[in-house]
């Protein structure tokens, strides 16, 4: 999205503004204060602010790459957005504040990005004018450089006041540094540190279809389309469409949403969505006991989430597959490091190759992949309960309560006890307590069918020398092993309803409490053969989803158990 060089017949005389200058006296003990800049008060950009969602790390990164090019590096630590219990990080971003330490990092990153953008090698790509004097301020040229950058960064045109402000900032920076580009760099750093960039600020306008209510305005729609579908900042096409008011025109909106869901860039959006839905941030903290699991190492850890994402993207996008078959497909991708976990030959030393498991492997879909199996295990043992809970909560949107605080876990944790060699036996001892049994009845039966895969998802024939019983159940469905579980998941309506409600939550940044909306979305999803593109097309084009709710919804997604 680099700005093409255009020759604008705009030429202003050198700055007539009086710039504020820092004055510092060498022996003063008190903090030095700047002489205030002479600025006009700033006014709000557009309309009423109805939501502020913090930019995620990946959105920040792709925005910088799209705006400034892939050779501008983003280096720094991102303050993580906290995941609210049972919700998406996308919802957490609606609540996310920026702490002092977090802002310090954003400030440092902004300075690094700005310095790269206006260094000698890059500046010409972002400026179509040359300052009259490279060692002094130049209002006209600064405006021509900063206005388009501001439009990309704030995802809407700068207001007149904002533009004047940043131009002035560039001028006040050019003075003491005796460099026009240093001044521009400072102004860009200020934009990158602004809440207008760090927050996706959603603004609303009166909704003609529902008098007295609000709907998202055009620029907020452009941003939501880009961030949801492509996980990046809106491009010229979207910003122009917003300027033309096309995004509140249902027909034009549908045409744009259709183009975007069919684009190869949809992969970035789908990956970000599932990384959020499947809690991939947990991979950052995953640790395994190297004595128990010698096949686990850093290369394996790096490959585990990527294998799942490649499977998802290949199945749902490349093959336009049915979402439900994500629980049964045996197709995946392999690296040399993963070959150790799966004990398979990998034809290359570096990189990924397509791979298909044999039916005898009993690895069906996402739940048969080492990433899922390892993430929902303990550091030294597998856990039918953690796996079952993840299946219920992440894949079926069925919340499982936390265990009470005073539970005695001795029986389940003692893997050395010869009398209780398998997890099934240990869990059944643990569940003699009816308080525990109530929840374990929900989690363990599906989880137990995966017990032939150990705590890193490697196949095992036996546990502590004892045979492993892989009979399982999901609601009323009874089955054996991973393939059976995959079939049961495939047949369960809960998975499609769950992903539909997550897509709504992901898009709006709010948990969707309107069951009718979830069901109508699922119905449209079903009508199109459960294709992920059609699900997101539905979510992005349904007028209801652009309406601003009257009050913030409270509570988690609820879908009835065992449909």
């Amino acid at each position: 999205m680099r700005r093409p060089k255009t020759l604008l017949a705009l030429s202003l005389a050198a700055s007539a503004f009086a710039f504020g200058v820092w004055t510092v006296s060498a022996d003063a003990g008190a903090p030095q204060k700047p002489t205030p800049l002479a600025t006009a008060p700033l006014t709000a950009a557009n309309g009423q602010i109805v939501a502020m969602r913090r930019l995620s790390e990946s959105q920040y990164r792709s925005a910088i790459t799209d705006i400034f090019g892939p050779d501008i590096t983003v280096a720094g630590r991102f303050e993580p957005v906290v995941r609210p219990v049972g919700e998406l990080i996308a919802s957490g971003s609606s609540d996310a504040a920026i702490s002092p330490a977090g802002l310090e990092q954003f400030d440092a990153m902004a300075r690094v990005i700005a310095a790269q953008t206006f260094n000698e090698a890059h500046r010409s790509q972002f400026s179509d004018c040359t300052p009259a004097d490279a060692s002094a301020a130049d209002v006209a040229c600064a405006s021509r450089i900063l206005a388009p950058l501001g439009r990309y960064l704030f995802r809407r045109p700068l207001t007149t006041e904002e533009q004047a402000f940043y131009v002035k900032l560039a001028g006040s920076g050019a003075g003491p540094t005796k460099s026009f580009y240093k001044g521009i760099e400072l102004a860009l750093a200020a934009m990158l540190t602004s809440p207008n960039f760090l927050y996706i600020i959603e603004t609303a306008e009166p909704d003609p279809a529902n008098p007295g209510e609000l709907r998202l305005d055009n620029y907020s729609r452009a941003t939501r389309l880009a961030m949801t579908l492509w996980n990046t900042t809106p491009n010229d096409m979207l910003l122009d469409a917003a300027a033309a008011g096309s995004l509140t025109d249902q027909a034009k909106l549908e045409s744009i949403a259709n183009r975007m869901t069919q684009s190869p860039r949809m992969e970035a959006g789908v990956r970000a969505f599932f990384a959020d839905m499947l809690k991939f941030e947990k991979f950052d903290e995953m640790a395994k006991d190297p004595v128990i699991y010698p096949y686990f190492n850093q290369d394996v850890l790096k490959a585990l989430p990527e294998q799942m994402l490649r499977t998802i993207s290949d199945h749902l996008l490349t093959r336009n597959g049915d979402y439900r078959d994500l629980f049964t497909t045996r197709r995946t991708f392999m690296t040399r490091a993963l070959g150790g976990i799966y004990q398979v030959r990998v034809p290359v030393s570096d990189g990924w190759v397509p791979y298909e498991f044999s039916p005898a492997d009993d690895r069906a879909g996402l739940l048969g992949q080492a990433g899922f199996l390892a993430l929902y295990s303990h550091s030294g043992r597998s856990s039918p309960t953690l796996r079952g809970r993840a299946i219920r909560e992440l894949m079926m949107c069925q919340p499982v309560p936390n265990p009470p605080g005073n539970v005695n876990f001795t029986a389940v944790q003692d893997t050395e006890n010869k009398a209780m060699p398998t997890a099934r036996i240990r869990l059944s001892a643990h569940n003699s307590d009816p308080v525990c049994a109530a929840c374990h009845k929900i989690t363990d039966p599906p989880g137990l069918s995966l017990e032939k895969f150990d705590g890193i998802g490697k196949y095992r024939a036996a546990e502590n020398g004892a045979q492993i019983d892989i009979n399982g159940a999901l609601g009323s469905a009874k089955f054996s092993g991973g393939a059976g579980l995959g079939q049961a998941m495939n047949a369960s309506g809960a998975t499609t309803q769950c992903v539909a409600s997550r897509a709504l939550e992901y898009t709006t940044g709010r948990v969707v409490s309107d069951e009718a909306l979830v069901q109508s979305t699922e119905k449209a999803f079903a009508a199109k053969g459960y294709g992920i593109r059609s699900l997101f097309f539905q979510v992005m084009t349904s007028p209801q989803n652009w309406r601003v709710p009257k009050s913030a919804p409270v509570g988690a997604t609820r879908v009835s158990l065992n449909r």
Binding site: W22, V24, A26, L37, M52, A97, A101, A189
Partner: protein
């Protein structure tokens, strides 16, 4: 950061999961990040970074602890550090994968630790060493960008540089070091006038610019989002305060005293002489730090292929590691190990010297991060996996000390990345090929 998250999560829990944003008490946060020294005076104490290098590694089973965490065990060759164990962390099982590049004896290992890259030429460094990167961040305004010292008398003994043939040469004589620091050109920091950094001034103006947008945003925002904006602008004010502190003339450096001149010493690699030279240089360096003449340093105790000898003997430490037979009963080489014991004593001297200087509520060591490392794990066979490394000091509270960290075979570059981040270098990924990493060592990040 972890603290921040826990606190917010806890508050969230108290409010029953309702979607309410609660600002974290800011002062706590601020202290957590910036340490006590700042709270005491209102001004930041200078934070320093340095390295301490020794050649020829260790006898791994007699040096590496086995128990991760605090109060780690001290095998015989690590035992000398006992008096300051709670201020020294040890790192084991961090590897140096070379991806097929040859292991150049005594060269590849040290270069990989410093640059996160494998050497392919036999000279220089494969990239910028992290001490230089850190120096650009914290040391650019002090009188010396860094002080680079070698106690064995070889000025080319250095692992610090911008990459390629660029190496920062080492000072080899304590007497020369004295005149460089305290001779003509020395400015008493407590009497000198103060010139604020124009870069900081410019940054400060950027932040005040952002602050001015507050009103316009707040006018259009609902109550829920206003809480977020308040938090943002409070954070911004903290950042402004930090910069204001940097623009303020610092408190007097109480520990700064001009030391007495040091005697001239022969420049050679005899261990007793090297020990003495190292002590003199250490004492001068400590005063240079206390007087804020530099914020970055590199001390090379000996060289990679160590030319240390014992007085009256001509056989070198390096020669011993290769020629001395591995005693199959002891499992190590007793003669070569003599030097390792001396090296650990010297390391303790160095850390103790930093810790003796009081600064604010703590010591100079507390406001410093010293990273010690070698270039081989077991020198006889030039092994470079499981590189022996240590850290002392907390960089003003940014790093936890007194831990044994087991890297479980992960790349050594994690250590460099962690230190650079702790010293404020904006960097999330470092190293090349198998040594490229974005995983910091969470255990030691405060």
């Amino acid at each position: 950061m972890a603290y921040d998250l826990n606190r917010r999560t806890a508050l969230r829990g108290m409010l029953g999961g309702a979607a309410v944003t609660v600002g974290v008490p800011l002062l706590d946060c601020f202290l957590d990040v910036n340490g006590k020294a700042m709270a005491a005076t209102g001004n930041a104490m200078p934070i320093r970074f340095g390295t301490w290098f020794w050649g020829l590694g260790v006898n791994p089973t007699r040096w590496f602890p086995t128990k991760p965490g605090r109060n780690y065990d001290l095998p015989p060759e690590l035992a000398p550090i006992a008096p300051l164990q709670n201020k020294i962390s040890v790192f084991g099982n961090f590897n140096v994968p070379l991806d097929g590049a040859p292991n150049l004896p005594h060269v590849s290992g040290g270069a990989a630790v410093r640059t996160g890259r494998a050497l392919t030429a036999e000279r220089g460094l494969p990239g910028e060493s992290f001490d230089v990167t850190i120096g650009d961040r914290i040391g650019s305004r002090s009188r010396f960008a860094s002080l680079d010292l070698s106690a064995t008398g070889d000025p080319r003994n250095s692992l610090s540089g911008r990459g390629g043939g660029n190496l920062n040469p080492s000072e080899i004589s304590a007497a020369n070091l004295y005149s460089r620091i305290f001779g003509t050109g020395f400015k008493d920091p407590n009497s000198a006038s103060f010139t604020p950094d124009p870069q900081v001034i410019a940054r400060r103006s950027v932040l005040s610019g952002v602050t001015e947008q507050r009103q316009s945003l707040e006018r259009a925002v609902g109550a829920g989002d206003k809480a977020k904006l308040d938090q943002y602008f409070t954070s911004l004010r903290q950042l402004e305060n930090q910069l204001d502190a940097e623009l303020t003339k610092p408190e007097p450096l109480q520990a700064c005293m001009v030391p007495r001149k040091v005697p001239g010493l022969p420049v050679n690699a005899e261990i007793e002489n090297v020990m003495m030279s190292h002590e003199l240089m250490t004492d001068l360096l400590v005063m240079a730090l206390a007087c804020d003449q530099t914020r970055v340093f590199n001390m090379m105790f000996n060289n990679g292929a160590s030319s240390l000898t014992r007085i009256g003997s001509t056989i070198t430490h390096h020669q011993l590691t290769h020629e001395e037979v591995l005693d199959p009963k002891l499992g190590y080489q007793p003669e070569a190990t003599y030097f390792l014991t001396k090296i650990m004593e010297a390391w303790l001297y160095f850390v103790t010297a930093l810790d003796k200087v009081k600064e604010g509520d703590g010591t100079l060591l507390d406001n410093t991060l010293v990273f010690a490392h070698s270039e081989t794990a077991f020198a006889k066979f030039h092994t470079i996996d499981c590189m022996p490394m240590m850290m002392a000091g907390t960089a003003g509270g940014k790093i936890k000390s007194g831990l044994y960290v087991d890297g479980a075979g992960s790349p050594v570059s994690r250590v460099g990345l962690t230190m650079m981040q702790a010293m404020g270098v904006p960097m999330d990924r470092w190293g090349a090929k198998s040594m490229e990493t974005n995983k910091t060592i969470g255990e030691i990040m405060a």
